[in-house]
């Protein structure tokens, strides 16, 4: 099953309680559980917001927006109720970390939700977990029930006079629903079509009320920050990129697994020392650094610090922490095709550039990989992707465009090797695909 691994370079903050039975509320309390929320109840909301801001915690879902700053956008006064929404819709290809948090430390998520609520004046939180994670939804249901039983949730939590309700909510299969405005639509019982921004969720969110939406790992980090302090958390990583994060190593690696490393950890070191390098004597060809929505890196580009700002400078993104290692037995055209197939399937269909763009690109890449490509297809794939970028109603279009552009630019020769009806140089003999999509 989802086995835990470890490495000496790990700095365990959000994974501190993994494997320690912390789904049991009694055990969670023994392991410093629910101390942070009680501390927060004794603080001014602005003080909590500033603490989280100063810690440098940035969204662990992929966008990397400063969490405290997001919380500060919630208006003090609101005619409509305010909400905290935990985004547990983890569906970014290569990402499997929130799964472990829900499995091993669900109370940390609950605690983070409540602290976010106290900081922003909200009294209701939802934990949205993707439909496929049914066993984790059941763990969360029990955790919530146990927290209510102890008076940690509901009316007058911890005897403080503050009310806070937390409800679970299960999805039913949709990547786009992980986009925060589509998440709200889904929670409201609709198709997960994103909303126009502005207004942003912190001002107009669930049922029109101000809503803070944070990734599960982001929220699970909050109690640790309350207890350890902003300075401690900030110093674990580079300036403005505080803390540690869960990295999901996968692909052609000897030791795939989820490891918690300080922000700014070197990617090359991560692949070779933590991940154990590439097995079977193969060579590294490419790396997906933070989930499939990021520009890929070549073997020559992996000497980079894995933090939000360094990765941006390197022309990619830290993203969701999903690191996929690709060796030299892999066809990059096929890889680009598989990525586009995903986005085409998951496109909500609302806006033309994404709906038509991902479909056109999938069809072109399918025909191209099967040997039916012509030279101008290569430039066209890049051109179509670049024209989707920044022109779609939500970032899914960008997510489809960015890896594609990087693969065409960095592996152009592989595209050229598929021209003139040549079979894919990497395909096993006799295994073919239909020429037309």
């Amino acid at each position: 099953m989802a086995d835990l691994v470890s490495h000496p370079d790990e700095v365990k903050v959000v994974s501190k309680r993994f494997g320690k039975g912390a789904t049991d509320i009694g055990r969670y309390l023994e392991l410093d559980g629910y101390k942070a929320v009680q501390k927060a109840l004794g603080m001014q909301p602005d003080a909590i917001v500033n603490l989280v801001k100063d810690s440098g915690l940035r969204g662990r879902g992929g966008a990397g927006f400063n969490t405290g700053m997001k919380w500060s956008f919630v208006p003090k006064q609101s005619a409509k109720p305010k909400y905290i929404l935990c985004n547990g819709d983890e569906s970014e290809p290569a990402t499997c970390k929130d799964r472990l948090i829900f499995e091993h430390d669900p109370h940390a998520v609950i605690e983070g939700v409540v602290i976010a609520g106290i900081a922003t004046g909200s009294h209701t939180g939802y934990v949205y977990i993707r439909g496929e994670y049914r066993y984790l939804l059941e763990i969360m249901q029990k955790a919530i029930k146990d927290a209510y039983a102890r008076g940690f949730l509901g009316k007058n939590i911890f005897g403080s006079g503050y009310d806070f309700e937390v409800y679970w909510h299960g999805g039913a299969g949709a990547y786009e629903v992980g986009e925060e405005s589509a998440l709200m639509e889904s929670l409201e019982g609709k198709r997960g079509i994103p909303r126009i921004r502005p207004p942003f969720p912190a001002v107009v969110g669930l049922w029109g009320g101000p809503t803070v939406i944070n990734n599960a790992e982001t929220l699970a980090s909050v109690p640790h920050i309350l207890l350890g302090g902003a300075e401690w958390f900030a110093k674990l990583g580079p300036p403005k990129n505080g803390g540690t994060r869960l990295f999901c190593l996968s692909g052609h690696l000897s030791r795939p697994g989820v490891y918690e490393l300080p922000m700014g950890y070197n990617l090359k070191k991560m692949i070779y020392e933590v991940g154990g390098g590439i097995p079977n004597g193969r060579a590294l060809k490419a790396v997906v650094p933070g989930g499939s929505s990021c520009p890929l890196l070549t073997a020559g580009e992996i000497d980079v610090a894995m933090d939000f700002d360094s990765m941006m400078k390197a022309g990619s993104m830290l993203g969701s922490g999903g690191v996929v290692v690709v060796d030299d037995t892999t066809c990059m055209v096929k890889f680009a095709l598989r990525i586009m197939k995903f986005y085409q399937h998951e496109s909500c269909g609302w806006c033309i550039p994404c709906r038509e763009g991902t479909d056109w690109l999938k069809k072109t890449l399918t025909r191209f990989h099967a040997g039916g490509g012509v030279k101008k297809d290569i430039d066209n794939i890049q051109y179509l992707s670049e024209n989707m970028l920044g022109r779609t109603f939500c970032p899914l279009g960008d997510a489809a465009a960015m890896p594609t552009i990087s693969i065409v630019k960095k592996f152009r020769k592989e595209f050229e090797d598929h021209l003139e009806g040549r079979p894919c140089p990497f395909e096993k003999a006799g295994v073919g695909e239909p020429v037309l999509a």
């Binding site: 989802a2 290809p93 909510h169 996968s250 692909g251 795939p256």
Partner: protein, 144 residues
């Protein structure tokens, strides 16, 4: 669950999945019942169903074998695993065996990337798979 939200409609998505778990698929009767209870039209409910990939309006096998072929699983034999399942079960993507025991689906990332290649059978995760392992696992479901 209805008391958890300010609108009735908000329970729709999880309710549809729970209803499907019970009935096997979302047939007209179930759709109509849910629509009535939530004060929606049947069409509004159908429109939501069509968006979510786990929901189906067609009968399915007792065990739905969902094979991930997204990038991390693809690199570790996910496609070969899918082909193996197609062969063994004698069905393709979204097919159902004659005895109604198994359905097969090629799915997108299920969040098991570090334990790839991975499969879900209904809600059960099966990871670090090989053809031999999946055979044993499917045998296990068959005898159940």
């Amino acid at each position: 669950m209805l008391t958890h939200y300010p609108t009735k409609r908000s329970v729709l998505v999880p309710t549809l999945l729970y209803a499907q778990d019970e009935v096997g698929y979302l047939n007209h009767e179930v759709i109509h019942e849910i629509a009535q209870r939530l004060e929606l039209t049947d069409l509004e409910v159908i429109n939501v169903i069509s968006y979510y990939s786990m929901l189906t309006t067609k009968p399915r096998g007792k065990f739905n074998v969902q094979v991930c072929t997204n990038i991390a699983c693809m690199l570790r034999g996910g496609e070969e695993l899918l082909d193996h399942c197609k062969s063994r079960l004698g069905i393709g993507h979204k097919g159902t065996t004659h005895d109604g025991m198994f359905s097969l689906e090629e799915v997108e990332c299920i969040g098991a990337c570090s334990w790839a290649p991975a499969v879900q059978v209904n809600y059960d995760f099966h990871e670090n798979l090989t053809a031999e392992k999946i055979d044993k696992i499917l045998d296990g479901y068959k005898t159940n």
